[in-house]
């Protein structure tokens, strides 16, 4: 026990004297939390549309007006030539083309049926899909307007109508930043836990101080615990700093209890520290450790549901996410912060993380013993 005390004293002194670590602990949360949510806005707005009007009728103009006044679209071009519109799309000046054929008004009124043609720049799949579907819903609305004008609507409408009332819970303003912030907190904690920890241990290997410790009575488990505890604490510290920034800059206050979050974070850190330890047993230079940590973290973070939804992934990718500790923390963080979930709601997650922690740390310790 006393030995552990001395080890911890040394570790903490070394960590706080390392200027790079201090910078990382404070700058990273600030940078990521401030820039990332501002940049990461997946909402689709300001869609540039080119309208080709071959009809020049009352109806075509009214349709165009309806589109431009919807708030989703900006009319970037109003022309009579398809080629001109296509050119605009090529130059990225327009995202969508709407072509209103000649005789649009006549066909709609006299023949009861008219057609419209839409071409979408589908390179950005999301923007394309949403853009097309916004446009289609505007056209549907316009269609209803036209019908209303020409058909008397008795009390019992001949047209079957199912009205959809939608409401948004937990984030009524549909603020994307509120959604991103908890995820970023998870990334911060993960980086400290696995990245920094593995770098620290490998640096000792590179310099040779591990050898020195090996000849002393310090037992292996004491050494490992002496390394893990400071980074465990550091992980919680950076999360705290993150929450403070979230509160100050975005006004985000968790709906659930902090105790729940910290309890889970504590278990989670055990798991990612185990991962960091594992990485350190497979690398011998800081450069390798950095690259390997970075690579693994990138894969884990991409396949965790941070940027894209797990539900949409193919089956094999879903399996990978089940074996990824980050996935669970992201879920938990979002659940507790945004929806107020309780410990009971996340108890499965905690058990799974404990499993990870035991598995990763055991593997790492076995490796460590073998290679020393």
């Amino acid at each position: 026990m006393r030995t552990l005390r001395f080890l911890l004293q040394k570790e903490f002194r070394q960590i706080f004297r390392d200027p790079a670590i201090i910078r990382i602990i404070f700058m990273m949360p600030a940078l990521q939390l401030i820039i990332l949510p501002l940049a990461a806005d997946y909402e689709v707005k300001n869609i540039q549309i080119s309208v080709i009007d071959h009809d020049h009728s009352d109806y075509s103009r009214r349709l165009t007006n309806k589109i431009t006044s919807s708030g989703y679209f900006k009319l970037s071009q109003y022309t009579g030539s398809y080629n001109a519109a296509l050119n605009n799309v090529e130059k990225d000046k327009s995202d969508l083309i709407l072509e209103i054929p000649a005789k649009f008004e006549k066909d709609l009124i006299k023949e009861n049926e008219a057609g419209l043609f839409v071409a979408v720049n589908a390179i950005n799949g999301v923007k394309a899909n949403l853009g097309a579907s916004y446009l289609q819903s505007i056209v549907r609305d316009y269609n209803s307007d036209v019908r209303l004008k020409w058909i008397q609507m008795p009390r019992f409408s001949p047209e079957l109508n199912i009205e959809v009332a939608s409401s948004n819970w937990f984030n009524p303003h549909m603020n994307y930043q509120i959604f991103m912030v908890p995820g970023i907190l998870v990334v911060l904690v993960t980086m400290v836990g696995s990245f920094l920890a593995s770098l620290n241990i490998v640096r000792e290997k590179e310099i040779g101080t591990i050898e020195q410790i090996n000849v002393t009575p310090v037992k292996k488990y004491q050494f490992i615990i002496g390394k893990l505890i400071p980074f465990w604490l550091l992980g919680l510290v950076i999360m705290t700093i993150g929450f403070v920034i979230a509160r100050v800059v975005y006004g985000i206050v968790p709906l659930g209890s902090f105790l729940t979050i910290y309890a889970f974070a504590g278990v989670y850190l055990l798991a990612v520290l185990g991962l960091g330890l594992l990485i350190s047993t497979y690398t011998s230079t800081q450069q390798q450790a950095m690259l390997l940590s970075f690579f693994m973290m990138m894969v884990f973070i991409l396949l965790s549901g941070l940027y894209t939804s797990v539900d949409s992934m193919p089956e094999w990718a879903k399996w990978v996410t089940r074996f990824n500790p980050v996935t669970y923390f992201i879920e938990v963080m979002r659940m507790v912060v945004l929806k107020g979930s309780s410990i009971a709601d996340i108890k499965n997650h905690i058990f799974i993380l404990l499993g990870f922690a035991v598995f990763l740390n055991s593997w790492a310790i076995i490796n460590y013993k073998k290679r020393s």
């Binding site: 030995t3 070394q14 004297r17 390392d18 020195q212 090996n214 000849v215 002393t216 009575p217």
Partner: protein, 248 residues
Amino acid sequence: MSNGTAISVDKLTKRFGDFTAVDNISFNVTKGEIFGFLGANGAGKTTAMRMLCGLSKPTSGTASVAGFDVYSQTEKIKKSIGYMSQKFSLYEDLTVKENIRFYAGIYGKPDGFIKEKTEKLLNELRLQSEAGKLVRSLPLGWKQKLAFSVAIFHEPQIVFLDEPTGGVDPVTRREFWNMIYKAAASGITVFVTTHYMDEAEYCNRVSIMVDGKIEALDSPTQLKKTFEANSMGDVFLKLARKAVRAAD
């Protein structure tokens, strides 16, 4: 094992796959002796020493250090020895005082002892004014002397020194060896490896390893007589040539 023996080695061997790094070596080191362990790079010195420190398991043979078996009692060995290597000994980003305190602490020395002896040590080395400075800022010679003192701070029975005086000027080396004498005089056995041949003269006995085997083991004086050499350097060259010849 008799009370006067600090290290006892019998037919100790270490193999890495097909390669035999340490080949059947046997020797004894008496308590309080300054035992020099010489050899070219790659002769097997470091491997042998690592086995004695409990860092690596022998392939065959027996050895006991401070009365403890190197196979089954490595923890006890580690408690009874000190170690210093040229590559590294002290934490550059901790202060002089913090380094002393750390190493003394992990060897289980009580706080009172640490405090008192630290004062004494700083006085002896004339490092009182540097006590609060980071080790990184000390010149190399001071670092080496401090490292040695830290290695014996917890009053171990044996201290292992692996090429401790590399890169240091002759005057500092002399001062370093004075410290070694003092330690030996106080009863600490000193096991030192070096490839400075003049330092070999300072030892009580010297063993010379060639290709994993001990080719010579005696006091410097005796060795010079046996090999008809004027200096330890010549003794070594003669033995090394033998190895080349054996390889033909």
